[in-house]
């Protein structure tokens, strides 16, 4: 390279001159030799062993042997060079851990690494490895002087794994798995769905795939921009493993045609394929994974979570469909054979046989006989079937003897109806009778058996027809299932005797139409035709039964008048019936026959007897005094009965009902007191007294009224006196009860006066009450015998009743009814001073005795009209006294009707006082307790 002008040659040379071709070839050769590519060209003795990088590995036995020497092992000409060990206080020599790697060359290392298992980047689903790589690279970069001087922990600086393009796309709403490009191009909903599916399948796609994704997408979009929507088909979902082979194992590796066969077979049942392939998808899908805000909500989006076809399967299906169509066109439809149904297509390389050699064998269905009915019919009666069809006896000729024929016919009918026992019986009976020889197989025996069979079959038919019974009702079903009948549960857990008593009470209340209405020839109210008409109506109603109705004609009358009239009517009817009523013995017979046939009119006593029996048998039972012959029509019912008892609502309940706790301050729940206690400890107020009794007795409210009305005399001033006296001595209350008892229990004498019948009626009421009361008291300590008791303290009360006693003779049409069986002794009682204590009715006596006594009583009652029984040895004064009380009762009853308001007021007062008493319960003196302890025996007082 010089200046041609200066040299004169005027030759200017630019560039580099070409080398000598020889030189070049020699250098190339050397290079090739070095690389070992020209080895084959060398003679064998000139060749030497070199590694892949062209290094000599073998140096000959005298120059270092295999792999020894300067080039291969250590980097010095001197070969192994021992290091000097230096360690001082300032710089400690670190103990270096040598590993096998230190003594390996690259080749060996590579070989070593290939034996280890590690994750390859292409399977890095979650992008952890990619992130790790990025971090490592970043740390390598940090070897440069850092912006932040000093130590920065790796955790803080996490280098970005997404490219800026991905980030930008994300910000624009792109999500991994979606295509890039205008939406209208991406119209194919299927493909979109595929993409979404894939995205769902791998909900948290790794960043490695994100790394790879965009680039791949880009290329793909570039390719597919023309006709396909710019969707990024996820490259990481290649094929979902749906078999049980090991990972990566391909059973069709060496036989790809079987893979096709398998695919076809799978495609045969597309649903099955779908299900199988998509199950893993369904598992990974989480429910909360919704549609992005920027995604358009199209029709196709609705079934995002539905198990649609898988993208890959979709492709496959499409191809498959095409192929199938082709095949379908080519090959005519052939019959599917159950055994050879492998696939629709033959294996590649095979052709389908044009003719099938396999012949399916078809059998004809069995021929149904023309008379076949596809319903099974049972023979008429199963139990009789054997006598009907199995061994039907042969037709036998009739015997000549007509009488014998008749006999046989009759016998057969009888036996068929009543069973074989009859046959056996008649056999036994007529052993010797020659006429009945047919029973023993004699003459006519065949005919008999034939007839018997015929009759039986007839009966069987009848039984069968009986089977078509009407449907069972609820009660029958309940009975069949062993349930308690509903109707009976009205009297739950009532012993039989109590039920009978209830029946008696019912009889007192309800009327049954009596068999023969009494013909009263005599008109009791002749002078007043209207009244007579009402009376007749009354009698008619009485015998038609049912509840007592309001008499229409009596509407112009006042309540009191009406009540009085009804009472009158009752009495008249009672008397009229009494004259024709049957004897007591008969009545008892009736009672035994059917206890519910009694009307309230004539046979009151029988009912009473029933009642007394019940009470004697079960003294512990609460007896509910029934208000027979109560004046009002409504009170003539014993149902409904009212009972009141204290009941303690819990404080919380009161609070929730916004009500003050009526039992505030009481620690324990107010227990229902024992009846005796409640009787003896009652505060001495008249109203309280009566209400307390009724409360304790659990009697009905009406009885309470009756009782209360019975105690106060007509005169108010008079009434005050006994009350005060009782107030002074609460113990007397007990006696007061008994004085009542005595007065009402006092046996009566039969007087045949119709006018006073109403008095008898009220007395019956009182008797009822007394019975129950006596029973109650007897419950605590039963006095074995009636004891006349001196009770001077009570005289005041007794006198009040005496004062009002007036002098008319008394009539009890039916005489003494509630006569106590054990107290049937005559009682001579001085007026007003001796208390006849009603004895308790414990079941001391056996029932038979009671029954006997009752019979006697009933007979005595029959005789009452003519003669006065001896056992009713009450003084005249007693009678008068009681009668006057009865009168008082009537009056007070009238008063009550008029002043129901007052009554309610009084009730309220009572209730208040009762509350007071509850509160003062603790303040009760010992005297009261002592009295309570002594109270059970009435004789002590």
């Amino acid at each position: 390279m010089g200046r041609g002008d200066d040299d004169g040659s005027a030759l200017v040379v630019y560039g580099t001159p070409l080398e000598n071709s020889d030189e070049l070839s020699a250098r190339k050769r050397a290079k090739a030799l070095d690389k070992g590519t020209l080895r084959q060209q060398q003679p064998v003795w000139k060749q030497d062993a070199r590694d892949s990088e062209g290094r000599r590995r073998f140096h000959g036995a005298f120059t270092g042997g295999f792999s020894a020497g300067y080039f291969n092992t250590v980097g010095s000409k001197d070969g192994w060079e021992p290091k000097t060990f230096k360690s001082s206080r300032g710089s400690r020599a670190d103990m270096r851990q040598h590993s096998a790697y230190d003594y390996m060359d690259d080749e060996e290392r590579r070989e070593m690494d290939s034996k280890q298992i590690g994750t390859a980047q292409e399977f890095d689903t979650f992008g952890f490895t990619a992130a790790e790589y990025a971090r490592r690279e970043a740390t390598q970069e940090t070897n440069r002087p850092a912006v932040i001087p000093g130590f920065v922990p790796d955790e803080i600086i996490v280098p970005p794994t997404d490219s800026i393009g991905v980030k930008l796309l994300r910000k624009m709403g792109w999500r991994h798995g979606r295509g890039i490009g205008p939406k209208h191009i991406a119209a194919s909903s299927e493909v979109k769905r595929e993409g979404r599916k894939a995205m769902l399948a791998l909900a948290s796609a790794g960043s490695s795939s994100q790394d790879a994704g965009p680039s791949l997408e880009d290329s793909e979009t570039a390719e597919e921009q023309l006709d396909l929507p710019p969707t990024s088909v996820p490259d990481f979902v290649r094929k979902i493993k749906d078999n049980v082979h090991g990972l990566g194992f391909d059973p069709f590796q060496s036989a790809p045609e079987f893979r096709h066969a398998k695919d076809y077979r799978l495609d045969d049942d597309k649903d099955k394929v779908k299900r199988r392939t998509l199950r893993p998808n369904a598992v990974t899908m989480s429910k909360g994974f919704g549609i992005g805000a920027l995604e358009e909500m199209g029709d196709e989006d609705e079934d995002v979570y539905a198990t649609g076809p898988h993208p890959e399967m979709m492709v496959l299906e499409d191809e498959e469909l095409e192929r199938l169509e082709k095949i379908e066109k080519k090959a005519p439809p052939r019959p599917r054979l159950p055994t050879v149904a492998v696939g629709k297509d033959a294996l590649p390389g095979f052709k389908l046989a044009s003719e099938n050699t396999y012949q399916a064998e078809w059998f004809h269905p069995p021929v149904v006989p023309p008379d076949y009915v596809p319903v099974h019919k049972f023979v008429a009666a199963l139990d009789l079937s054997q006598s009907q069809s199995d061994n039907a006896p042969l037709e036998a000729p009739q015997p000549e003897d007509k009488t014998l024929v008749k006999l046989i016919d009759g016998m057969a009918i009888l036996v068929a109806r009543s069973g074989t026992q009859l046959e056996a019986l008649s056999k036994e009976k007529n052993k010797e009778n020659p006429l009945f020889q047919f029973l023993f197989g004699g003459p006519g025996g065949d005919y008999y058996t034939r007839r018997l069979w015929e009759e039986r079959s007839k009966r069987g038919l009848q039984i069968q027809s009986n089977r078509d019974r009407p449907k069972l009702g609820a009660s029958e079903r309940g009975q069949a299932l062993g349930e308690m009948p509903l109707q009976k549960s009205a009297l739950p857990a009532i012993p039989a005797e109590d039920r009978a008593r209830l029946q008696a009470t019912l009889n007192n209340t309800f009327m049954k139409p009596s068999a023969e209405p009494t013909k009263t020839n005599r008109l009791p109210f002749e002078d007043d035709p209207a009244k007579q008409a009402r009376y007749e109506q009354f009698v008619k109603d009485k015998y038609t039964g049912g509840l007592r109705k309001m008499n229409k004609g009596a509407q112009q009358l006042t309540e009191a008048q009406r009540a009085q009239e009804i009472l009158e009517f009752e009495a008249v009817a009672h008397a009229a019936r009494g004259t024709v009523s049957s004897s007591g013995a008969n009545l008892l017979g009736k009672l035994a026959a059917s206890s519910d046939r009694f009307t309230s009119g004539g046979v009151e006593q029988a009912g009473k007897f029933v009642k007394s029996i019940e009470e004697q048998q079960s003294p512990n039972q609460l007896s509910v005094p029934s208000t027979n012959y109560a004046p009002q029509p409504s009170t003539s019912l014993s149902y409904p009965r009212r009972t009141e008892e204290p009941w303690r609502p819990l404080p919380l309940l009161c609070k929730r009902f916004d009500v003050l706790d009526p039992y505030t301050g009481q620690s324990s729940l107010a227990k229902p007191k024992s009846r005796i206690e409640s009787l003896t400890l009652a505060t001495p107020s008249e109203s309280l007294f009566s209400s307390k009794i009724t409360e304790a007795l659990g009697s009905a409210a009406k009885d309470e009224e009756v009782q209360r009305e019975s105690t106060p005399p007509v005169d108010e001033g008079e009434q005050q006196e006994p009350e005060e006296k009782i107030a002074e001595k609460p113990v007397d209350l007990y006696k007061a009860i008994f004085s009542d008892d005595e007065e009402e229990e006092a046996p009566s004498q039969p007087v045949k006066n119709v006018d006073a019948a109403n008095a008898a009626l009220t007395r019956l009421v009182a008797d009822d009450f007394l019975e129950s009361l006596g029973k109650e008291l007897g419950l605590a300590v039963p006095p074995p015998m009636p004891v006349p008791v001196k009770a001077p303290e009570d005289s005041s009360k007794g006198q009040t009743t005496q004062d009002t006693s007036g002098g008319q003779p008394e009539d009890i049409s039916k005489g003494q009814t509630t006569e106590d069986t054990s107290s049937g002794q005559p009682q001579d009682i001085p007026k007003g001073h001796i208390k006849f204590v009603k004895p308790s009715r414990k079941g001391e006596e056996p029932k038979a005795d009671i029954q006997k006594e009752r019979d006697e009583k009933a007979q005595a009652k029959d005789a009452q009209y003519t003669s006065e029984p001896e056992d009713h040895a009450t003084t005249k004064d007693d009678k008068d006294q009681r009668r006057s009380r009865d009168k008082r009762k009537d009056k007070s009853r009238d008063r009550r009707e008029e002043s129901s308001k007052e009554r309610s007021k009084r009730k309220r007062r009572e209730r208040k006082e009762r509350h007071k008493r509850h509160k003062s319960k603790r303040r009760r003196t010992s005297s009261s307790t002592s009295s309570s302890s002594s109270s059970p025996s009435p004789s002590c007082s």
Partner: protein
């Protein structure tokens, strides 16, 4: 008067798959709720005949339902021995009350809707507290000797009818209870709107009107059949007539005073299980074994 009685079938509410055991109006009468053997409670609009919502949680048949005064909740009971306290709009069960030993026949709310009172086959009446979170009853009343079939409430009283034939009135204010023994198994107990009388349906095919003050029997109403099924009876909104349901699917109207049958008509194909009368208007809903609820207007 009598021609204003609901006798015309306005709407048939179908939706229950089986006998409907009870139907009740809500407190203003714009909706009604029914329950049945299909263990579902249905909320209806009886005017339009729309089924608004179904409530499904009971394990066995639902026998009765009661709605709170503000209509936000209701309570149902049934053969699964539990009381379900429901939220109406969401249809969720707020609470389940236990305690009954047997089927629960009837449920009612107290007037201020703080207490649920229920009566059951276990012969008890139980009061449950809606305010606390306790599911145990605050009081158990075991005064009965047979299954408690029906309940009604006043401000301070619990009135319960039982198969033992008694109507028992538990007066919380007075701390007393009084029992009116009617002598026949009682199927339903309803109060008159003036609160002075109790109408008791008895199993002897009789309705009885009882004076609450005295316990007197005021009137009896007969003509229908009621011997074995649980049916309802009630008074019309004016208290002028008594409505009773019969086992032959008929509805009877009696005059309150003279107890004559004013009207009767065939309402259902089979036994009527429950009736409810609108509080202010002449409107009656009936439910039946035949699985329908029918709305009747004049």
């Amino acid at each position: 008067m009598a021609d204003q009685l609901p006798r015309r079938e306005a709407v048939v509410l179908r939706g229950h798959e089986g006998p409907v055991l009870a139907v009740r109006f809500n407190s203003d009468g714009n909706y009604c709720i029914s329950c049945g053997r299909d263990r579902v409670l249905c909320l209806w609009n009886p005017q339009k005949g729309l089924r608004i919502k179904s409530y499904n949680a009971h394990a066995r048949e639902v026998r009765d339902v009661a709605v709170v005064a503000d209509n936000s909740k209701f309570c149902s009971c049934g053969a699964d021995r539990q009381l379900f306290y429901w939220d109406v709009p969401t249809g969720r069960v707020i609470r389940k009350f236990r305690g009954h030993d047997s089927e629960v026949n009837t449920v009612k709310f107290s007037e201020n809707s703080t207490v649920i009172v229920s009566g059951g086959y276990d012969r008890s009446v139980r009061a449950f507290d809606c305010r606390s979170h306790s599911i145990e009853p605050i009081q158990v009343i075991e005064a009965f000797s047979d299954s408690v079939t029906s309940l009604c409430m006043t401000r301070t009283e619990i009135i319960a009818g039982s198969v033992d034939g008694s109507i028992r009135t538990f007066d919380i204010r007075a701390g007393r209870y009084c029992s009116d023994d009617l002598g026949h198994p009682i199927n339903s107990v309803t109060l008159s709107h003036d609160g002075k009388c109790t109408l008791a349906g008895c199993l002897d095919s009789t309705l009885r009107l009882i004076d609450r003050e005295t316990g007197d029997l005021l009137q009896e109403y007969k003509g229908h059949i009621n011997k074995s099924y649980k049916t309802d009876s009630c008074l019309t909104n004016t208290d002028a007539h008594v409505v009773g349901s019969s086992e032959d699917g008929r509805i009877y109207y009696w005059d309150l005073v003279d107890s004559s049958v004013v009207s009767s008509f065939k309402a259902h194909a089979s036994a009527v299980t429950s009736i409810a009368y609108h509080k202010t208007e002449p409107m009656l809903v009936t439910s039946s074994i035949d699985g329908t609820v029918r709305v009747w207007t004049p």
